[in-house]
């Protein structure tokens, strides 16, 4: 087996906000009708988590379930746990109209931490990131700069962003530039 590496090789930028490689992450994509009760039952059996509501994240143990669209779920887990999760989900969904894929190495995860993570994201995404308008537990698929990305807040000072692996260095550089010391307007404070 080849050794799995991230696209960013552990890069870190210390600015007004710290931008860091999120590390290897297991990502499993499920395409199925999330309004179908049988799908909810299967997901619950395989992950232990309830299906997230629209645009929200649910969690169980080390797994987080991200609502991506009415028929798409992205499950984040440990990198080594993804193949087993695909097997469990596929077994539970036997006979259902569903697709389960291990996409662990298709996307990259970047962590932002520090006061002002909302502002760094707001510089690049057409999203209202004011407190009360976007809160932890919510996930948003949108663009940052010119590329597709999704992000969520872990707390007021921590956020995570995912994007396609091929553009991860671009997004890392973009967020690092947006997080340059002294460049945050302090709009949300």
């Amino acid at each position: 087996m080849s050794e799995a590496v991230t696209a960013l090789a552990g890069a870190t930028y210390e600015g007004a906000v710290t931008v860091a490689d999120g590390g290897l992450t297991g990502m499993v994509q499920l395409r199925a009708d999330l309004a179908d009760a049988a799908v909810a039952t299967a997901v619950k059996a395989a992950t232990g988590a309830d299906l997230p509501d629209r645009r929200r994240i649910s969690a169980a143990k080390e797994q987080r379930l991200l609502w991506m669209s009415p028929d798409e779920l992205l499950i984040l887990t440990d990198h080594g746990a993804a193949p087993d999760l695909v097997k469990r989900l596929s077994t539970e969904l036997t006979g259902q109209h569903a697709l389960v894929l291990d996409l662990s190495d298709a996307r990259s995860r970047i962590r932002l931490s520090g006061q002002g993570v909302r502002e760094v994201l707001a510089k690049g995404a057409p999203v209202d990131l004011a407190p009360g308008r976007f809160e932890p537990g919510e996930v948003r698929r949108t663009r940052i700069g010119q590329i597709a990305a999704a992000f969520w807040l872990l707390s007021e000072t921590e956020a995570e962003v995912i994007c396609f692996r091929s553009v991860a260095p671009f997004l890392f550089d973009w967020l690092s530039t947006a997080a340059r010391p002294g460049s945050l307007p302090g709009h949300f404070r």
């Binding site: 645009r55 669209s69 009415p70 057409p126 698929r141 949108t142 663009r143």
Partner: protein, 107 residues
Amino acid sequence: MLILRCPYCGVDAEETDLAPGGEAHLTRHGPGSDDAEFRDYLFQRRNPRGVHFERWRHAFGCGKWFHAARCTQTLEVFGTYSAQCSEPPEEIMTAIRTRRPDWEMPA
């Protein structure tokens, strides 16, 4: 800046999050149609000043196609609705008639 609410994920998506899909509710003319119908289906599009029905895709978001009714002159949005319909739902028509009493659905 045009802001449309995606009926599938419920976010107020800004124009740059979306991809335009042109005029909505076209009648498809394929095999069996005559040349004039096929030409019109392919190329003839309305370009109204005022109420217009369009298709949009929430390209950077949930990826779903949906419909929007808006005014091309003022950029007022009357509403967005599901892609799974061949004509605007009644609440959209009501919203348009409330704001544009003189408007009539073009034939």
